[in-house]
């Protein structure tokens, strides 16, 4: 249990975005319009909104995979936007990211993919010869056990199923021993059942390690199920910020536009209804998440 206590004792900075703006100069398109909010340490936030609302751009601006045009990303006492490339690399070591289409290196083994989470800590020669410190390898085995992939250590990443690949992606992000987790549409390429398993796994791991997390997700029911706070984006602007239970029909209409939410809700419900032998069977466990 020593490890868990360590996680509890660790100092966790808070994340504060201030007037974060992203404008694509060439097209004149404003992807983010002056977004400000604060994430408390250990909080799990779901970022919802229609596609094109700027969700992906927002989380990529935090670790600067996308360069913001203006504004601040205050992480503890540093502004990530002001860092030079060496400082940014050091800061990124503590920010894990999980991707929509897993973003694994297909031709590397599962273990190599997981170990790539430690690249910020080893020098180039060590990483080229794959000589990672034994404690990193121990941690990698532990994480692979935790996400249920201990049998696949030496399999190539492209030999795995979608759910398994996302588990590798999760292990890679946690391998960084991050303080902040950025999660970009983790379930967009997965079927409904696997989606829920993956979301549950991410939620559990965040709570175990007291991680601050921002999760982009287009699936509103899943967002309500796993996040304690929800932020809604529309056309690059912040239009909702509050707990899941305030996310009522007219708020969703504001975010997603004039879609009939009764019908959409029905559709979402149908996702969790399985048809067995021609008779609809309602899976109560899954239904619970929708309430």
């Amino acid at each position: 249990m020593a490890v868990c206590h360590l996680h509890l004792l660790k100092f966790m900075p808070s994340l504060h975005l201030e007037k974060l703006t992203k404008r694509y100069e060439r097209t004149g398109y404003d992807a983010l319009k002056s977004i400000s909010f604060t994430v408390e340490p250990g909080q799990i936030i779901a970022l919802i909104g229609p596609s094109g609302a700027g969700k992906s751009t927002l989380i990529r601006c935090i670790n600067r995979l996308v360069e913001p045009t203006s504004g601040k990303v205050q992480w503890g006492d540093v502004d990530l936007v002001s860092l030079n490339s060496g400082q940014l690399r050091r800061a990124r070591r503590k920010i894990g990211m999980i991707f929509q289409e897993f973003a694994l290196v297909d031709r590397l083994s599962v273990m190599e993919n997981v170990l790539s989470g430690r690249l910020g800590y080893v020098n180039f020669w060590q990483s080229l010869t794959r000589r990672f410190p034994q404690k990193d390898i121990d941690e990698a085995f532990r994480l692979l056990d935790r996400v249920g992939l201990s049998e696949f250590v030496d399999k190539r990443a492209d030999k795995l199923s979608g759910g398994q690949r996302q588990r590798v992606g999760i292990a890679r992000a946690l391998m960084q021993d991050p303080d902040l987790l950025l999660v970009d549409e983790p379930t967009a390429s997965l079927d409904p059942k696997t989606s829920r398993q993956i979301m549950r796994l991410i939620g559990e791991l965040c709570r175990e390690r007291k991680l601050t997390a921002i999760i982009n997700i287009h699936d509103v029911p899943l967002a309500k199920m796993f996040a304690e706070r929800i932020i809604g984006l529309k056309d690059g602007a912040l239009v909702f910020d509050g707990p899941p239970d305030q996310l009522a029909g007219e708020v969703l209409t504001r975010i997603y536009g004039e879609e009939d939410w009764e019908e959409a809700g029905q559709r979402a419900l149908m996702k969790f209804v399985q048809v067995g032998d021609g008779v609809p069977v309602i899976d109560n466990d899954r239904m619970a998440g929708l309430r």
């Binding site: 690399r89 990211m97 991707f99 694994l104 290196v105 031709r107 690249l119 910020g120 992606g169």
Partner: protein, 271 residues
Amino acid sequence: MSVASVNGKREWQRYDGKQGLLRWVLWLIGAAVFVWCWQKISAGTEWSFVLDAPEQGADILGRMVPPEWSYARVLLRPLWDTLNMATLGTMIAVVLAVPLAFLAAQNTTPSAEFARPFALFCIVASRSINSLIWALVLVMILGPGVLAGTVAIALRSVGFIGKLLYEAIEETDHRPLDAIASTGASSGQIISYGVVPQIMPVFAGIAVFRWDINIRESTILGLVGAGGIGLQLNSSIGNLDWSRVSVILLAIFATVIVSEWVSASIRKAVT
């Protein structure tokens, strides 16, 4: 394609008036240019020689058979040299082309202002000059022999391998690269974990493919004195020793076919 309505009947044509006209004009220009080219060629040709060709051909063919089979033994050493020029040349080219390709690829170049144009220039210069011309120049510098041939092959192949490789690097999936960058990896680590595994099979394929082409090219470098079986070919033709020429041609033919087969099966195995 157009549908026009004339007197209440619908007519269908493959192309409408303007399109059709444009096509005819283009064809006409092409034909005119061809006729003009042909006249130029024809003006520079001694037609009596050309008309004479079947007779000449029959004569040469008659002297080619039967091939002087015993000469084949002498060819083993030149063939070995040919193989070495192609193989060593390809190896040198690979060593030079890999860094050039990383400098030239948009997503891995350290500087788009200096390194990239420089690398692209090297690649283009190497590619536009045929290995025979490289050999011609190198024989004057290094003297006749296998070395000039090896370097000629290498210099020509750098551009070929470099071009295909940098295109492959530019086509890599950028998502894993983003993921690795987000862990705080340095650019060298992003290349070794993200780019290299993705281009490995393509790279092996390109190298083997170029080796196959190089075998074919190194058979003729001897014509300008750069070693290999081309030397024997040149002297046999010079001496009008047609029964030996046929043996040499057969040897070249066989070598090329074998190397093509080897390269095809290796490429099939790696992808």
